[in-house]
């Protein structure tokens, strides 16, 4: 409950209705100091709504949030002092110069006047803004805008950073830069970032929350989530010794192999070849059996390898209604 326990966020049964639409349904989670938490979910899952509630921009229909032990709904101003927030798409004042904007936010975010210049210099350097300080924000590229957004969120050195889609619309190089920055920040701060891009959370976060249709469907470390989808899949490409293979016949033969749970037709590798993705039962490795079957039927094996089920699969399974047993 208190800050001493290292509990930065304590969100309890957050529910938010917009008219008849339920954006969040009974969402509860806790975040400890020093965690980099990835908020993952398809578009429209309620990520932005959840973040807006954390920052006090929206009030939950039911439930409560404490930030550093401060109830956000009752003492919003106090809670906001502890939070740095980058809203989605980095809305900024386009007509302002970068330096003026940062000075303005430093004022509003209560950086003591004596420290302002030093803070501005530190942040400008950290976010790589040195050469654009004198430019109008409206002229900046998307990458620089995002960095200005980050800079204003960090200007008061908050304990908690909330970043809504910090890398959306950036090019791959910029994405890597922002990721590095977030990791760097995560060393001494708590960071919550939302995204629908999976490699992003895998690369930066040490904990992942997956939300779908306003509900929490998973809460775990990235490694654990990747392993969660049981079993693995086998990629197989076959070719006939002579003539053509009959897909239905081959599929049936493969389906008959013990340990194979599911056979899916996939892309081949050119004319005369057939591609398949086979799903193992949990714990099994059916590669030997598959190879044996190929020998028996005298198929030529062009490719046979095992793919670990990725976080992506877990994500799909959890958010496309293919519910997993156990934790929901």
């Amino acid at each position: 409950m208190t800050e001493k326990d290292g509990l930065m966020i304590d969100a309890r049964s957050l529910t938010k209705d917009f008219g008849p639409t339920r954006a969040l349904a009974d969402l509860s989670f806790r975040v400890k100091r020093g965690e980099i938490l990835g908020f993952l979910g398809p578009n429209g899952a309620g990520k932005t709504t959840a973040m807006r509630i954390l920052t006090g921009y929206l009030r939950p229909t039911r439930g409560s949030v404490h930030v550093c032990g401060i109830p956000v709904a009752e003492r919003p101003v106090e809670a906001r002092r502890r939070i740095g927030y980058l809203p989605e798409n980095a809305p900024l004042y386009d007509e302002m110069m970068v330096i003026d904007f940062l000075r303005y936010t430093a004022e509003l975010r209560e950086v003591p006047p004596a420290e302002r210049d030093r803070r501005l210099a530190t942040i400008g350097k950290r976010c790589g803004l040195a050469e654009v300080l004198g430019k109008d924000i409206g002229q900046l590229s998307k990458g620089y805008r995002q960095r200005v957004g980050l800079a204003q969120a960090m200007i008061h050195d908050p304990d908690l950073l909330i970043l809504d889609e910090p890398t959306s619309g950036l090019d791959p190089n910029q994405i890597v830069e922002i990721r590095e920055l977030v990791k760097e920040l995560g060393k001494d701060k708590t960071v919550i970032l939302s995204t629908h891009i999976l490699p992003e959370v895998q690369a930066t976060c040490n904990r992942i929350l997956i939300v779908n249709e306003g509900r929490l469907v998973a809460d775990d470390r990235p490694e654990a989530l990747s392993g969660r989808a049981s079993g693995a899949s086998i990629r197989l490409v076959l070719k006939a010794r002579e003539g053509e293979l009959d897909a239905a016949e081959v599929g049936e033969a493969l389906g008959g192999i013990e340990g194979i749970r599911e056979v899916q037709k996939a892309e081949g590798e050119g004319a005369g070849t057939l591609g398949f993705v086979l799903r193992d039962s949990a714990g099994a490795d059916s590669r030997e059996a598959v190879f044996g079957a190929a020998v028996d039927h005298s198929w030529i094996v062009l490719d046979l390898h095992r793919e670990q089920v990725s976080l992506e699969d877990t994500f799909r399974r959890l958010t496309l209604g293919e519910q997993e047993g156990g934790e929901g």
Partner: protein, 240 residues
């Protein structure tokens, strides 16, 4: 008033000068008042300042009726449209500090336009004897009149993310309050004083005559306070 209110006011004020609005308002105001002042000066050979303050169909007050909504329409609506409102409200700032800061910025610009016409008063004072009493009360009336319109404009701006809508609604409210005093001859006698009291222009007329009455001051302060309060409430409502 807090440091944050002043920081917000300062930013808003600069934003007004980043757009052409501020320059248009000041130049147009000077031109129209100048024309009115000099036409009475040369045609009627009278240096009369009261003409500047007395509300009519063609007077500086009429100009404010249009300019005030134009200045204040962007206050909240623009932040809603661009999404910066979310940024602003994620900072440790109270809604009333935002509303007050924006109001002060709009008022500073309008006051600059109104007070720029002091050059005419000084001209008159140089030519002959100027009775400063009615001039001061006239300026005070004009500033309060403008502040009321700005507060109404800010209130309308807080209701929408569309600046045009904010402008039109504010213009309508202002115009109704401006012309309602003309109705007092057509309504039953017992309503007439009420109609006269709610009218923006009748209070301005009083002050233009050099009459400083607490009832007039009270009227303007109530209107300004009420409109800003509603604006603050609708800012708070967005969190719902």
């Amino acid at each position: 008033m807090t440091a944050k209110t002043i920081a917000i006011a300062r930013r808003e004020f600069r934003a007004l000068f980043d757009s052409p609005v501020a320059y248009i308002v000041i130049v147009a105001f000077l031109l129209v008042t100048g024309w009115m002042f000099f036409s009475t000066l040369f045609l009627r050979e009278r240096a009369d300042l009261r003409v500047l303050f007395t509300p009519s169909l063609f007077s500086p007050a009429m100009l404010l009726l249009i300019f005030a909504p134009a200045i204040s329409m962007r206050a909240v609506a623009e932040e809603r449209k661009s999404g910066t409102i979310e940024l602003l409200t994620s900072m440790p700032v109270r809604d009333w500090e935002v509303v007050l800061g924006k109001f002060l910025a709009d008022f500073a610009l309008t006051a600059a336009a109104v007070l720029s016409t002091l050059v005419y008063a000084i001209t008159v004072a140089c030519i002959g004897d100027l009775d400063w009493g009615p001039v001061i009360s006239g300026y005070l009336g004009m500033l309060l009149f403008a502040a009321s319109l700005l507060a109404i404009g800010l209130m309308c701006s807080s209701w929408t993310d569309n600046q045009i809508v904010a402008f039109i609604v504010a213009l309508l409210i202002g115009a109704c309050l401006y012309v309602i005093s003309w109705l007092q001859f057509f309504v039953p006698d017992f309503i007439a004083p009420l109609v006269d009291y709610v009218s923006l222009s009748s209070h301005l007329s009083n002050m233009a005559r050099g009459v400083l009455d607490t009832r007039d001051l009270l009227y303007y302060f109530t209107l300004i306070g009420g409109a800003l309060f509603i604006a603050e409430r609708s800012m708070a409502h967005q969190h719902a």
